[in-house]
Symmetry: C2
Subunit: 320 residues, 2 copies
Amino acid sequence: MTKQVAIGIDVGGTKIAGAIVDTKGQILSSLRIETPQGTANDVVAALKQTINNLFEVVPETSEVIGIGLAVAGTVNWKEGTVVQSPNLPFSNFKLREIIDSELGLTTFMDNDANLAALAEKYYGVAQSAQDFVGLTLGTGIGSGIFCNGCLYRGATGAAAELGHMVIEATGPQDSCGSYGCLEIMASGRTLVHLAKEKVETNRKSLVLELAQGDPKNITGPLITKAAHQGDKLALDVFNEIGFWLGIGINNIVNIFNPELVVIGGGMAEAGELILAPARKAVSKRALHPNKDIARIVQSDLGNKAGVIGAAALVFDELFV
Amino acid sequence: MTKQVAIGIDVGGTKIAGAIVDTKGQILSSLRIETPQGTANDVVAALKQTINNLFEVVPETSEVIGIGLAVAGTVNWKEGTVVQSPNLPFSNFKLREIIDSELGLTTFMDNDANLAALAEKYYGVAQSAQDFVGLTLGTGIGSGIFCNGCLYRGATGAAAELGHMVIEATGPQDSCGSYGCLEIMASGRTLVHLAKEKVETNRKSLVLELAQGDPKNITGPLITKAAHQGDKLALDVFNEIGFWLGIGINNIVNIFNPELVVIGGGMAEAGELILAPARKAVSKRALHPNKDIARIVQSDLGNKAGVIGAAALVFDELFV
C-alpha cells in the first residue's frame, strides 16, 4: 500500500529547507540550501530545484499528494500571493500558481509562523489544544494563532503579526517603522544588540571573552553559553529580553485566553534563561483566570517546524 | 402569528437596563434602574424584578423565548458563571442557573463587551463582517472579537480583554495591577483625569469655565462640549487619548487583520475628536496590508448595545 506524503518547503531569507513528510509528521528525507540573494525568479528557480531534488528521493512506496510552502513574509493564502517580505524579493508575487502550474502538483502556501503553529497542532505540543498561540523567536518574531481549533488568518491572511504589537509605544524604532513593537523589544536581534551595548561598559564579561574580545563576534548561542556558565552580563541580557517577551505573552494571555503559548524558533533554545523572566512578568501582570489557564511551553520541533508545518498544510487542506 | 422576542438585560455596576427585543433587533419596551450597591442577592433580586417588570409589558402577540444577560465582568459562558467583576458583587457566582431556574425560562449569559460585538454583528455596523473587533470605550475599555464569523471567547470565556493589553509597559499603573494597559492610557476615566490635571496649570480653559470653576465637575461630555467649541485644552486631551487609542487599534489591526474595528460606548460619542488622532496613529504605525483593509467605524447602537446584544445571544444560541 502506498504511503501518502507531502513535500514541505520552508522559504526563508537566508535558507530554503525542504523535506518529504509523512502524515505522522515524520521526515523521510530533507535538504537545505542557501537562498539566492537575487531576483524573485532566482528564488523560484532554487525552489523548483529543491522540490525536484526531493522528488528524486521519494521512496517507491510513497505518493506525493501535494506541496506546501511556508514563506517568511505576509502571505495572502486565499490568493496564493506573497504580499511582501522583509528578506525575500517578493512583492504581490503569485508564487503558489507558479509552483503549482510548473510542477503540476497541488500547492498550498502560508506564512511560516502560521505554519509553525499548524505543525504544533498536528505534531507538536499543541495537539490537544483548541485555543493557543505560537511565537517563533528568531532574528524577528513571528506568530500563529489558533482560535476554536482553526488557524486564524484574518480578512486577507495577514493576521497574527504579534511581533508588531506595540508594548512600549515610546520605545525604540522597529524595522517596520513603528516604535516599541514586541519584535524590537524582545527578538534575537535585540538580544545580540543589547549584549554588544553592555560589553562596551563591562569589558570583563565572559560574553566578550567567548567573542575573543571582539563584540562583532557576539551571537545568540554565544550569549546563551555565557549565561549557562553564570555570566552576569549574559543573564542580565536574558532577564531584560525575557521581561519584554513576558509583556508580549501577557497581552496574548489577556487577549486570547489560550490554553497554551508555544515558544519556538532559534531563541527558544535558550529555554528557561528567557522563559523564567517571561513567566515572572506574566504572573505579575496578567488577569485571572487567564494566567491560571495558559501554560507557557517550549516547542520541541526545533528548526523543523517550518517544513513540517508546510506539509501539515497540505494534509489539512486535502484531508480535513 | 406570534412574534418571537427575547429579554435582554445589561447588568452594569451602576445601572441595570432591560429590554424586550424582537428578532430584527427592535426594542419593543425597555426600562432602567440603578444597580443596588449591596450583596449578590440584592443584585439578583433587582434582576428578577427587572425581568418580571418586562414580562408584564410583553405584547400579547409576542412570545418570550429566552433571557440574555450581558454582565460587566469576566464570564465563563459555558458554565454560566460570573468569575469576577470589578463593579458587581459577584465572584464565581452561578448567575445563569439562578435566573434560569427561578424564572423558568432558558437563560444565556456573556460578558457585556462580547455581547456589544454580537449586537454589531446582528444589527449594527458589522453585519457583513466575518473578522472584526468591537471596542467599548467607557469608564473602562471592554472588547469583543469576531474570528471567522464567530464570537471568540477563548478557553474559558475570558478572552478579548483588550483593555488590559499593555501598550506602554513603563506607563502608569492600571486598576488591574499591571502598567500601561490600553485602559489606563485611553479610557474615559483617564480622559477626565487628564483634563483635571491640565486645568491645574491652565486656568483659562473653557473646560474649567463649563465646570463652573471646580475641576470636580469635569466630565467626559463636558470636555467634548469644550472641544467642539474649539477649546485647546480639551482638544489636546482628546489628541492624547486618541493617540493611545490609536496604538491599541494599531495592535488590533496587526494582530487580527480585521475588516472593521467598531468603536462604541459612551466615549465613542466624541466621534472624530477621538477617532481622528486614533486613525492618524494607526496610519503611521500599522502594517500593510492590514491598515488598508481595516475600517475604523463608530457604532450606531449607542447605550443600547448591551441589551440588544444580550437578546441577540438568545437568538444566536437558539436559532443558529
